[in-house]
Structures are given as structure tokens and as C-alpha cells.
């Protein structure tokens, strides 16, 4: 409960901080400190030391998994603000509002990690999405940003509508908003018999969740929105928000799939393969690094869907590790991207000569996304694959996935090639020593988690 309340309050605090001070850097400092406060509040809650207690009548249920993910999301946001705070300040004049919106998103995240009924899921998704629509359009004078915002808003509303329809159908069929009502109903040993309305409701819910995590064939908004939004906010959307979407997805479907029977796995494997295929193959042909990252985020979503597919303890650990590895690496890559003058691959030519630290850390981040050993990304992928192998019976899907993982190397390494092997002078702006040090710390963290993934996972268990 702490995270939900404190993040909402801090959002309001951030809004008012704009009145007290007009100095942009002090607003960023306020945000950094507020994030630390939020993190402490959540950690205290996780270990049961201090907790705000509100009776939610069972609509929210706080468990270790959710609260630990909150900590991950808050820490990632903290790193994101430290790395890209200067660029958030430059986006427009409403700096305090941007931070306020980020806090509201975090509030939505903490609802999504603890919802215990479809109603709270809906509220969480809305609290998460509406600030994002605004952030996407934050660059008010840029036509592309406006277009992306409108597109995102329209498509997002549609998917919310579909979700509501699904919830309504499920409510009609079962008479409850609670999760997993179904599997109490039949006597032991009997197959679950779901009504047509309920199956339809679950499918609609599935489609709208696929939309939120940009899984194919509901991914079409992603490249345009990611490309059009100001790069700083794309970074936030593609990492923290996306992982939160997955946590909600898993929470929702870990106990609700019996109604679909074996069809569920077939459906999901179709979505996984389509997502991997579209994400990876399209990313290969991109000329702009930002668009490539948009498609790569679709491809990574395909891998994260494995957690849903296998639905066992390894999958749960794995999705947490994946969230950490993917968020840290992508935040780093975006932080560097924002500093580039030219967003195309050619714009990175010769970066290793002009800015060796940026090129080196960017390489570590890319290797992590590609899943090369010694980086956190390897164990993230490892856990996903291992969970499916453990579940058994779907080895073909794992083989398909690794073929796509090999393809993903193609576009990640293109950037490494541009930085190291091609001649050119990559132009960058506003790189401070603090920024470089922060990048190095991030790279070291990625390698550390890549050698000892237990650092992340142990803190989950203790």
C-alpha cells in the first residue's frame, strides 16, 4: 500500500514544486529525492517494517513478488532520472508536471502489481496510461510528437474499451470481478467447463493486454509512438511501463487460463512467434536507431511472454530478472541516444574515437540486450528459456526463440559496428563527466548481475 499512496502524494508534491521554484535543476533534485523516499517506503513495506494500512476489501493484494517489482521499477526510474534528468528539463517548460506524471505512472505501476480484481486492473491500467498519453505529446511544438500522442491516445482508448468489454463479459458469466473464481467451481478431477461468454471475455482481456505490452498482432502503435514521443519519455515507456505491463499480464493470467484449456498454449505460442518474428525481422531493416529500439522492444516482449507461457516459479524469477536487465540496458541506450545529434545508424559512426566511454558502455548495454554471457541479459534470456524447458513439451518453441535471438544480434551489432569499425565523426551534445560516470556505474551493474544474477534474485527471497 505504501507505494501507491506515497507515489500519488509525491506526484502532487512535484506538481507544486513548480510553484515554489522555477529553477529546473532543483526540480530534478526534488524528483530524485522523492524517488528515494518512495523507494524507502516501498522497501519498508516489503519487509513488513512500516506499512500504511487501508482496508481494500480484498481488491488489492500485496505480495512479495509485486512489491519487489515495485522496488525494481522505482530504482529503474531513479537511474533514469539521474541519467536523463537534464534532458527531461530540456523537453519543454513544464518540468515539474513531467515529473508529477512520472510519479502518477509509478502509482499505476504499483496498482498493477497488486490488483486482485478486474476492476483494480482497469483502474491501474488507466492511471498508468493517461499520464503516458500526455508525456508522449510533451514536445508540444513538434508535429510528430503530437501525432504520436493522438495515435497513442486513440489506440489506447480502443484497447481500454476492449478490456472493459472483456471485464463486463466475465462479470456477466461469473458474477464477480475477482481473479481465478473459476477454478473453485468444479469438483476436483472434473474438467473446467467455461461458458462461451466467459471465454470471449478472457480473449478480449488477452487482446487488450497484448496491446499494452505491444505483442503482435497488436503492436502497430509501438513504432510510431516510440518514434514520435520525445526520446526521454520513450525510454521511460519502453522500459518501466512495459515491464509493469508484463507483471500485470502474468498476475492476470496465471490463474485464469483454465477456462481456455489447451487452446491457451496454442494461442499464446502463436502470439509469441508472431511477436518475435515481426519484432526481429522489422528491426533488421530500420535505419533509425530509435525505430530499431522500438522494434527491438517488441522482440524483447516476445521473450518476456515466455514467462506467461511456462507459468512456473522459474518464470516468475525470470521475469523479474528480465525486467531488471532489459530496463537497465534500454535506459542506458536511450540515455546515449538522446545525446546524439543524428539518430540514424550512420550518426553513430566513429563514436568510439570521439566518446570512448559512451561507445564502451553502449556496447555493454547492447550485448546485454542481445543476451551475451557475462551480462545481465544472458541470465534474463536463460531463465525464460529454462522455464519453458522445465515446463516441458515445447522444445520446438525454444529452438524457434533462439533462432530469433541470433537474428537480434544482427541489429544490435550493427550499432557496435557503427561505433567501433566505421570511420566518421559522431556528433554529441551536452555530455558531462557525471553522465559518463553514471553510465559506467550502470554498465558495471549489468556485468555484476550477469555474473551473479543471485544478487537480484536473493533480494527477492529475503
Amino acid at each position: 500500500m505504501n507505494a501507491i499512496i506515497v507515489s500519488a502524494l509525491l506526484g502532487v508534491v512535484m506538481m507544486f514544486s513548480g510553484i515554489i521554484t522555477t529553477k529546473r535543476s532543483s526540480i530534478t533534485y526534488t524528483a530524485t529525492i522523492s524517488l528515494l523516499v518512495l523507494l524507502v517506503a516501498n522497501v519498508l513495506n516489503t519487509y513488513g517494517i512500516w506499512e500504511v494500512h487501508v482496508n481494500t476489501h480484498g481488491m488489492l493484494q500485496f505480495d512479495k513478488f509485486g512489491m519487489f517489482f515495485n522496488s525494481i521499477a522505482i530504482t529503474a526510474t531513479l537511474i533514469y532520472v539521474i541519467l536523463s534528468g537534464k534532458d527531461i528539463e530540456k523537453t519543454g517548460i513544464h518540468v515539474s508536471e513531467y515529473y508529477a506524471l512520472i510519479f502518477f505512472v509509478l502509482c499505476g505501476v504499483s496498482i498493477l502489481t497488486s490488483f486482485n480484481g478486474l476492476l483494480m486492473l482497469f483502474i491501474g491500467i488507466e492511471i498508468l496510461s493517461i499520464p503516458l498519453y500526455i508525456l508522449t505529446g510533451a514536445d508540444k511544438r513538434n508535429l510528430k510528437s503530437n501525432e504520436a500522442s493522438l495515435k497513442y491516445f486513440l489506440m489506447g482508448s480502443f484497447s481500454t474499451g476492449i478490456m472493459l468489454m472483456g471485464i463486463a463479459l466475465i462479470y456477466g458469466a461469473t458474477g464477480s470481478f475477482a481473479l481465478g473464481v473459476l477454478h473453485d467451481a468444479p469438483a476436483a478431477g472434473l474438467p473446467v467447463k467455461a461458458s462461451f461468454i466467459e471465454v470471449a471475455g478472457i480473449l478480449l482481456l488477452f487482446a487488450s493486454m497484448c496491446f499494452k505490452v505491444s505483442a503482435a498482432p497488436f503492436h502497430f502503435w509501438t513504432p510510431d509512438v516510440y518514434d514520435g514521443a520525445p526520446s526521454v519519455f520513450t525510454s521511460f515507456m519502453a522500459t518501466i511501463v512495459k515491464s509493469a505491463g508484463f507483471i500485470a499480464f502474468i498476475r492476470l493470467f496465471e490463474s485464469n487460463t483454465q477456462a481456455l484449456g489447451p487452446t491457451w498454449k496454442i494461442l499464446l505460442s502463436f502470439v509469441i512467434i508472431a511477436t518475435l518474428l515481426i519484432g526481429n525481422i522489422t528491426a533488421v531493416f530500420q535505419q533509425s536507431v530509435k525505430r530499431m529500439l522500438a522494434y527491438s522492444s517488441i522482440a524483447q516482449a516476445g521473450f518476456m511472454l515466455f514467462a506467461l507461457y511456462s507459468n512456473n516459479d522459474l518464470a516468475k524469477e525470470g521475469i523479474l530478472l528480465y525486467a531488471v536487465a532489459y530496463s537497465l540496458a534500454t535506459i542506458g541506450i536511450f540515455a546515449i541516444l538522446i545525446k546524439m545529434k543524428d539518430y540514424t545508424f550512420d550518426g553513430y559512426n566513429g563514436l568510439a574515437k570521439s566518446e570512448p566511454v559512451l561507445a564502451f558502455t553502449n556496447t555493454i548495454f547492447l550485448l546485454s540486450l542481445a543476451g551475451i554471457p557475462l551480462t545481465a541479459g544472458f541470465f534474463a534470456k536463460y531463465y525464460m528459456l529454462a522455464s519453458v524447458v522445465k515446463a516441458g513439451g515445447s522444445l520446438w518453441l525454444v529452438v524457434v526463440a533462439v533462432v530469433f535471438a541470433a537474428i537480434s544480434v544482427y541489429y544490435y551489432f550493427r550499432l557496435i559496428q557503427a561505433m567501433y569499425f566505421k570511420e566518421g565523426y559522431a556528433e554529441t551534445t551536452g555530455i558531462s563527466n557525471r553522465f559518463k560516470n553514471a553510465l559506467l556505474v550502470l554498465a558495471v551493474l549489468i556485468i555484476l548481475f550477469g555474473v551473479f544474477p543471485s544478487l537480484v534474485l536473493n533480494s527477492f527471497y529475503f
Binding site: L374, L385, V389, V398, V399, V402, A405, Q417, F421
Partner: protein, 477 residues
Amino acid sequence: MIPVLLILIPLLTGLISFFIKDDKSVKTWSLLSAIVTLLIAFTAVFSCYPAQLSYDAAWLPTLGSRFALMTDGMGKMLCLLTAVSFPLIFAAIFKNNYKQSSGFYGLMLLSQAGLMGVFTAADALVFYFFWELALIPVYFLCSIWGGEKRIAVTFKFFIYTFLGSLLMLVGILFLYFHTNDHSFALKSFYHIHLSGKQENFIFWLFFIAFAIKMPIFPFHTWQPDAYEQSPTATTMVMSGIMVKMGIFAVVRWLLPVFPNASVQFANIIIILSVIGMIYASLIAIRQDDIKRLIAYSSIAHIGLMCAAIFTQNKTGLEGVMIQMFNHGINVLGLWIVADVIEQKLGTRKFSELGGLAQKAPVLAILLVVMSLANIALPLTNAFIGEFLMFNGLFQYNIWIAAAAGISIILAAVYTLNMIQKVLYGNTVAATENAVEISGNIQLVLVILAITVIVLGVYPQPMMELTKDTVNAILVNH
């Protein structure tokens, strides 16, 4: 403790190399590091305390993976090959100048650390880690310091091998969930019982990874381009040592874990290997470039080794063991000569060379020794190895042995052709002002030539060293 040192020394010295700015000092530093590693490798070979030769520490308890290293005879032999090769390579290229040499030497040492790790790993996950780690530095070495087409060529090489390793990872995961104690330890893998269908499927996941690395026909297409475009020092590492990773992995991770599948599919693999041998030898005859010729000849030799492994009889395996070491030594010598010719004369094409023997007789003698070893002439080290391997093939199937035998003749054709075109005939524009080799390079080549002849006359120590590995495989059957 010794295996840890073998990995740790190149790893740490390699990381330090990145920060040494002076060209001369970084060369000396890496040479020193390589010599220290060599001394440690010698202690590993002569050590009488088995406890020194393995290491086991907790790494990922929740996953059931331990940082476990061990060295059997084959491991010792390949660690020795790695440890011998690196000082020789560093000495041979001491006069060469590379831009950003600190990065070059740093990456070379890192690849050495990766190779040592592969040859000593006793845990599947550790093995996978080092398998990849050996690849990454080589990727950067080739892409930064290679020839004109380096970027595309190394990229192909990287994606090929990466795909192979990922398939292997799937296989490792599958086996992990079928071990009794849920562990990645080599011993647990050896005790897995799979159903026939599972074994056949997982066998190929592993074998494709190893076949790409060796490379075996039809997975070899990355190799000639990669060898040609890489800086020669890296090519030496790739063809001298890295290809042995594939052979080593088959012996350690494939045969004992999939005993039935490796008998069942032996026929297909041996036939593929023999096709590759003849095919590569035929292409080698038509080459006009020293590096490409050595690359294709290397495919032919590796094909023979792969075929001999799958015969799974004593002579064949013994032949593979000593040939792994000998091929490393011979091919290293050939690459050094190729590098010398390229550095001194500015060309690698036969059509632009000739009459070098008149100008540089010492180089000519040493090249002839290396080339004769490449053809496996008696008294050279390769003879024993190839003889044993052909003997093994002969026991397996006469017709296959006969077909493979053609490659001996073809090897003589292309190697002697190379000697003739490079060394004899009249001098041409490129060789007009050639000078004799001296200093480091001469020393290195002489050491290699002596090794060739000594091991050719007295191969017993190598066979003693690897006896335990051969026996362990044969016991399994």
C-alpha cells in the same frame, strides 16, 4: 588451483593491457604474461598432485551451477597448446605495428582466457560462458584490425557461431532438467538417461554448435573468408586453437553424454567430414592466396579429425589427440610464414611471388619443413597423427578410408604447388628486394620446426599425456 591461474592470468593482464598507452611496453607486457601462463601450463602437465588440477567453488547455488574446473589429459594438452601458441604469436608479431595496440593485445589475452576456460570447464554453464567469451574478443579483433571486407565477414562468422551456441544452450538446459540432482556438473551430465528420441534430437543441438566451430562441411562457409580477412595474429588463434574447441567439445561433451546417438549418427557425420575433406582440398588447389590456401587445407585436416573421433576406436582417438596438438603447431608455423611474406613483400598472391628461396634461404627451409608437416610426411609430427587416424577410419570402413585417403594426395598437390610458386622459379618484382628473416621470427620458426621434428620422431609423451581421456571414452562403450 592451476586451472584458475591459467584463466585468471591472461584475464587480468589482458584487462590491464587496455590501460597501457605505450606500444612497446604493451607488447612486452603481453609477451611476459603469455610466458608466465606457459610456465604454469608446464606445471599443470608435470604436476603429480591431482588436487592441484581441479577447482570447485560455489557460483550459482539456486541454479545448481558451480564454478568447477578440471583438467584431464586432453585438457592439459590443449591448455599446453594454447599456452605455447600465445608467446610464439606475440614474439612473431613483435615487430608488427597495430593501431591502438593496447586494445589489440588486451583482446588477444582475453581470448586466451576464454580458451583456457573452455578447455578446463567441468560445468556446463561455465563451459557455455567461456565458449562465448572466447568468441567476443575475436569478433572485435577481426572487425577492427582485419582486411577490407572484415565487417561483413566477421559478422557472418559471429552470427553463425552465436546461433550454434544458442542451440547448444537449449540442449544444455534440456539436459539440466534431466539430471538426477539438477546440476550442470559434467559428472551429472555423464549419468543422464534419455529416451532414444530425446537423445537423437538433443545430440544435433550440440553437434551443430560444435560443427560450426570446427567447421565441418556444410557449416564451413564462414571460415575461409574469416581467416583471410582477420589480422594474421588472430587467424593463428582461430585456426590453431579455436577450431580445437569444437573437436575438444565433441570428445568431452558429446560422446560420453550421447553414447547411443553418437554411434547411430557416426556414419552421417563421417561421410560429411570426408566430403568436406575432399571438397576443401580441391578448392585449395585452385587458390591464389596463401591465407585462403591454408584456410581450406585447415578445413580438410579438421574434417579428418572429426571423422576419426566418430570411428570411436582406440587408434582413431589416439590419432585425434596428438593431431590436435600437432595441427596447432603446424598451422601456426604456416600462418607465421604467411604473415612474414605479407608484411615484407606486401602481397599474398602466388601469381605475384616467386624465387623467394634465392633471397631468403632460411625462411625457405623453415617453410618447407612446415609444409611437409602439413602433408604429414614421415618424420614430421603430423605423420603419426594422420597415420593413426587413417588406421582408425580403415577399421571403421575401408571404403570411407579409401575416399578420405584421396585427400592426402590432394594435400601434397596444393602444398607442393604453394612451395613451388612461392620459393622457386625466378624472382619477380615483389621478391626482388626480399631480405632474410631474422631475430624473433627466425627464433619462433626454428622452435616450431624443432617441435615438428621432435614430436615426429618421438610422439610418445603426447600419447601418454592423453591416454586417460582416450581410455575413458572407450570404457563408456
